[in-house]
C-alpha cells in the first residue's frame, strides 16, 4: 500500500460519510415537522453534499484515473462504499433524525478538529471549512436533544428510543484498521481511539441534561470499513444512482 493509495481510500471513506448522511437528510425536504425545521435540515444536507464534493474530488484526483467526483458517487456499488453504518440508518421519526445527527456531529467535530492538523494539506483545508459547519450542526442537534428529552412524556419516550436504537452504530466511529494505522504513522490520518473519551463524555453530559439515560455498552455493529453494510444502503443507492444507471452519461 502506498501513501497515495491509502489517502485515496481515506478521502473516499470521509466523502461517503457526508454523501450518505447528506442524502438521508435531503429525503426530508418538504417533510420537515415545520417549515423552519425543514429548511434547517436541508441546510445541513447541503453542507454535507458540499463537503462530499470536496472530498470525492480530492479522492478522484489522487486516484488519477480521470474519474470525477460524480463518477465516484454514482458508479460505485454497495460493497465499494465505506461510510459508517450510522449514516445510512433511516430517518424514522424526528427523534431518530436528531439522535443520529447528535452522535455524528459530535464525532465529526472532534474528528475534523484533529484532521485539521493533518500533514495532508488538502485534507487539512477541507477540515478547517467543515469544522465551522459542523459546529452549527452540533448546536442544532444538542438543542433539539434537550428540548425533546426534557419535553413532553411522548417526546422523551421517542428520544430515548432513538438513542437506544442507534447506540449500537456508534462503536464503529472509534475503530482503527490497517489503513488508519498506516496513515496515522505518516501523520495524515486521525487516531480515532484518542477522541473516544471526549465523545463519550460530551454525549453523556448532553443526554443527562436532556434527562435521558446513556445506554449501557453492548454489542456494536461493524463492517463499513470493509464495505459491509446494513440493508439500508442498497435502498439509498438504488434511488440515488437511478438516473445514472438508467441513462449513463445523460446530459441536459
Amino acid at each position: 500500500m502506498t501513501t497515495q493509495e491509502a489517502t485515496y481510500k481515506y478521502a473516499l471513506r470521509l466523502g461517503d460519510d457526508s454523501l450518505i448522511l447528506g442524502h438521508r437528510l435531503s429525503e426530508l425536504c418538504s417533510r420537515g415537522p415545520i417549515l423552519e425545521e425543514d429548511l434547517a435540515l436541508t441546510n445541513i444536507a447541503l453542507d454535507m453534499i458540499g463537503r462530499t464534493q470536496a472530498l470525492l474530488k480530492y479522492a478522484a484526483s489522487i486516484e488519477g484515473k480521470e474519474q470525477t467526483e460524480d463518477d465516484l458517487a454514482y458508479r460505485r456499488s454497495e460493497n465499494h462504499y465505506y461510510n459508517h453504518l450510522i449514516m445510512e440508518q433511516p430517518n424514522e421519526d424526528f427523534a431518530h433524525t436528531i439522535a443520529r445527527q447528535l452522535f455524528v456531529s459530535v464525532f465529526e467535530y472532534l474528528f475534523y478538529t484533529e484532521l485539521e492538523k493533518s500533514k495532508d494539506e488538502t485534507l487539512a483545508a477541507i477540515s478547517s471549512k467543515a469544522i465551522k459547519e459542523i459546529k452549527y450542526h452540533m448546536q442544532h442537534s444538542v438543542d433539539w436533544t434537550l428540548r425533546l428529552g426534557d419535553g413532553t412524556a411522548e417526546s422523551h419516550k421517542r428520544m430515548q428510543k432513538a438513542v437506544n436504537d442507534l447506540w449500537m452504530f456508534t462503536g464503529e466511529f472509534f475503530e482503527m484498521d490497517d489503513l488508519d494505522t498506516f496513515l496515522l504513522h505518516h501523520h495524515i490520518a486521525v487516531d480515532v481511539t484518542s477522541i473516544k473519551n471526549e465523545w463519550q463524555s460530551y454525549i453523556s453530559t448532553t443526554l443527562c441534561l436532556a434527562t435521558l439515560l446513556v445506554p449501557a455498552d453492548s454489542y456494536m455493529q461493524t463492517g463499513s470499513k470493509k464495505g459491509i453494510h446494513t440493508e439500508n444502503l442498497g435502498h439509498i443507492l438504488s434511488e440515488m444512482q437511478y438516473l445514472q444507471r438508467a441513462y449513463p452519461d445523460a446530459k441536459w
Binding site: 415545520i34 417549515l35 423552519e36 425545521e37 429548511l39 434547517a40 441546510n43 448546536q139 442544532h140 438543542d143 428540548r147
Partner: protein, 96 residues
C-alpha cells in the same frame, strides 16, 4: 384568520454590514431564543445576506391601528414646508 399552531411567532431583523441599520426581513416560528436565532439564520441568511441578526417575539411589537391612519398620517400630507426643499443649495455642496 386561521389560528397559528406552529410555535410562537418572532420577527427577524438582519444587518447586512456592520454600521448599517437592522432591516426587517420577515418572521419565523420558534419556541425559544436559541431556536429563533437558528431558524432566522437558516431562513434569512443562507445566501450571505447578513452579518448580524436580531430576533424578537412578535407579541412585543406595538403597532398603530389602521383605523387611526387619518388621525396619525393625514396631517403630514399638506405640510410641504416640513421638507427642506425651500433652501438654496450652497454652491459646491454635493450632499445635503
Amino acid at each position: 384568520m386561521t389560528t397559528d399552531t406552529q410555535l410562537d411567532l418572532w420577527e427577524v431583523f438582519i444587518q447586512s454590514k456592520s454600521g448599517l441599520p437592522y432591516i426587517h426581513a420577515g418572521s419565523i416560528h420558534a419556541s425559544d431564543n436559541k431556536m429563533a436565532l437558528q431558524n432566522a439564520r437558516d431562513i434569512y441568511t443562507r445566501r450571505g445576506e447578513g452579518t448580524s441578526i436580531w430576533v424578537m417575539p412578535s407579541k412585543y411589537i406595538v403597532a398603530s391601528n389602521p383605523d387611526d391612519n387619518d388621525m396619525l398620517f393625514d396631517p403630514a400630507n399638506d405640510k410641504i414646508y416640513r421638507h427642506p426643499t425651500f433652501y438654496v443649495m450652497p454652491e459646491g455642496a454635493k450632499n445635503i
